[in-house]
Amino acid sequence: MSLELRDIRKYFGEVRANDGVSIRVERGELHGLLGENGAGKSTLMKILSGFIEADSGEVVVDDQVIAMKSPRDAIAAGIGMLHQDPLVFLPFSVLENFVLGNPRADRDQARSELLRLGESFGFAFEPEAPVRTLTVGERQQLEIVRLLWLGAKVLILDEPTTGISATQQALLFEALRTLAGQGMIVIFVSHKLEEVEALCDRVTVMRRGRAVGDVPLPAPIDRLVEMMFGRAVKVAERDHRGLGDVAIELARLCVDDRLVSLRDLDLLVHRGEVIGLAGLEGSGQRTLLRSCAGLLAPRSGRLEAGGADLAGHPYHEHREAGIHYLPAGRLEEGLIRGVTVAEHFLLAGERKGPIIDWDSAHDEARRRIEEHSIVGTTDSPAESLSGGNQQRLLLAMMPAGVDVLLMEHPTRGLDIASADWVWSRLLERVEQGTAIIFSSADLDELLRYSDRIIVFFAGRVIAVLDAADTDAVRLAHLIGGKDLG
């Protein structure tokens, strides 16, 4: 059998998630889908599995066009998808999860099938155990056998190796090879070069919503990197000044987040220093930022800032110590829908007595709008501003003398002009002694503005680089988990 995607297009407003993608996969092929965050891989696979509908384009199975309106159609066509965070029902048992949604109802038959399939791949299942107690890797295994029992002929795995152990990964790859050998089409979506290289026969590379290349493996790594990230970037020299005192220090910090565990993290950041956090989504950067902010209590270790150990202390104490956090979700975690620009400034600013002086508040807001070139009026609700202006607003809301500024993806979704502007303001603060720790998926940004870059992979810090001594290629390899040494 064969599977083909023809000219798939999907737009979310102005964002072109999939801009005319075509792929063809043959029977028994292990096909990799490679690309960085935001390249459009997830959207494409959601379309293929029926979770969302494409705006245009066709899904073709065995040279027959399939009407793909819902997951039902996908399942009927034999397409099964394993999500990055497996969509299982936590309070239900393993057996119940296995059976749910399958037209065959016989429990006993199901149980023996579950155990048989599990055994054939080396997976161990306890049918009555609640799925909540299973690790991510085990949940994956459950999903795989479930899809097999459902009759899947195409298996899509979305970033399967995030959060699973090495043993589980080995088992997984074994299973996939076996399945491909039996004629299954396996689509392996990942950012991790090394794994795609190890497992797949062919790979399609996506960038910015397009499929930019379809090559058989093995292929030269540099070629893959170039396809993933685009042309190598010229690194502009940053004027590195002398650094001041310690702004924040992490010592043997251990933090547990849902899928990520940071262990024994040591970091010393000086005033006026810029630290860039590099790595794929979910590798640990957000966890680090949130623990520094005080939103995530570490299991152990020290977090010193402003002369005190803040580990485990509440968020507002971190703020009082001069640590401010700008999360990635501008409207979800930073701004408030329905609240105007002027009101945001009031919320973020110093309280001057209980009563609001609206006139002076509007004046102040107007001043700040001009100062930060925000396109919007004092009465514009936050959601009416464009992404770039929302970011400007968030920055404008930051008080002047911040000691440590934690930012997630400061320029995500912004055009070049806005991004430049954001960084010029940030550098102003740096010159005044603010330390910045920021995460980004943009290699150019990381290289250009950081003093040091910390690379995360699978929940661990795998490298701490001097930005001046590294280049885009090396950085990209590290991010993909491949160390050139």
């Binding site: 599995s49 979770f51 969302i52 819902s70 997951p71 039902r72 996908a74 399942i75 009927a76 998808m81 999500h83 969509l87 299982v88 029902f89 936590l90 309070p91 239900f92 048992s93 119940e96 059976v99 749910l100 949604g101 399958n102 037209p103 109802a105 009555e128 155990a129 609640p130 107690t133």
Partner: protein, 315 residues
Amino acid sequence: MEATIATIVATAAPLVYATMGETIAEKAGVINLSLDGSILLSAMAGFATTYVTGSVLLGFLAATLVSAIIAALIAFASIELNLNQIAVGFVLTLFAAELSSFLGRPYVGVRGTAVPHWEIPLLSDIPFLGAVLFDHNLSVYGSFVAVIAAYVFIFRTRKGLELQGIGERPEAAFARGIPVNRMRYLYTVLGGSLVGMAGAAYSLDVKFGWRENLTLNFGWIALAIVIFGGWHPVRAAFGCYLFGALQVLALKLQPVSALQGVSQILPILPFVLMIFTLVIVYLDWFRRFGERHPRWQRLLSSEPPAGIGRVFERE
């Protein structure tokens, strides 16, 4: 003694219907806050229809229909209009209650037809159990069926498992090809129908008649019992019978002047128990206990379906 228990079983029958209905709807992820008003309106409709047509069966049908429509309205408002279930349910409960008073006026104090008594032969001769369980009428027997059917359906059938999935994690159910919203409509209306039967059971059996606020806070009590019952039909039914027992106890205590106050406090108990249950869920040790004893886990668990009250959107 037997007579007392039989009374408890009979008195609790309407509550059982309502609780089973709401458990199903909430398991599917939809909160029907209009219970109190729905039951009132259904009770009135059932009684009025029976009075006019002389047929108890038609009365039950009418009652069922009324609550089913209200439930459908909530589902519609939530799924199609993206409105908050609580808001719509709340407005509906007040509206339906007032409507029942208004439309029911002509039927106040009127003698109606009751559900005919029907002793089940043979079974009713069993010592003790016979008198308690099998010496009632169709309405009460129906309540038994409701509990058994609800339990079997939810926990022992494929469709029931899907129902649980819809309420627990609609995205996951959707990914498995289950038409989430369509099913939500179905189960909400099904739940509503059972709620309607509760109303009819009340006005045509337990209380034999209609007057304003006949079913006094029934719906709220049912909501509380659903929570106390941990969204498990059998446990909820137990809660209903417990409440029925408390009611009968209150009646017996009434003539005793020293314990006057106690009999008034009894109706509060389900709510105190409900709050207690909700707090317990929050406590870690309870959850760990459940994990160590998986066979009891389901019966003891008090967590709501995780997706309850939320609207399911595809993208």
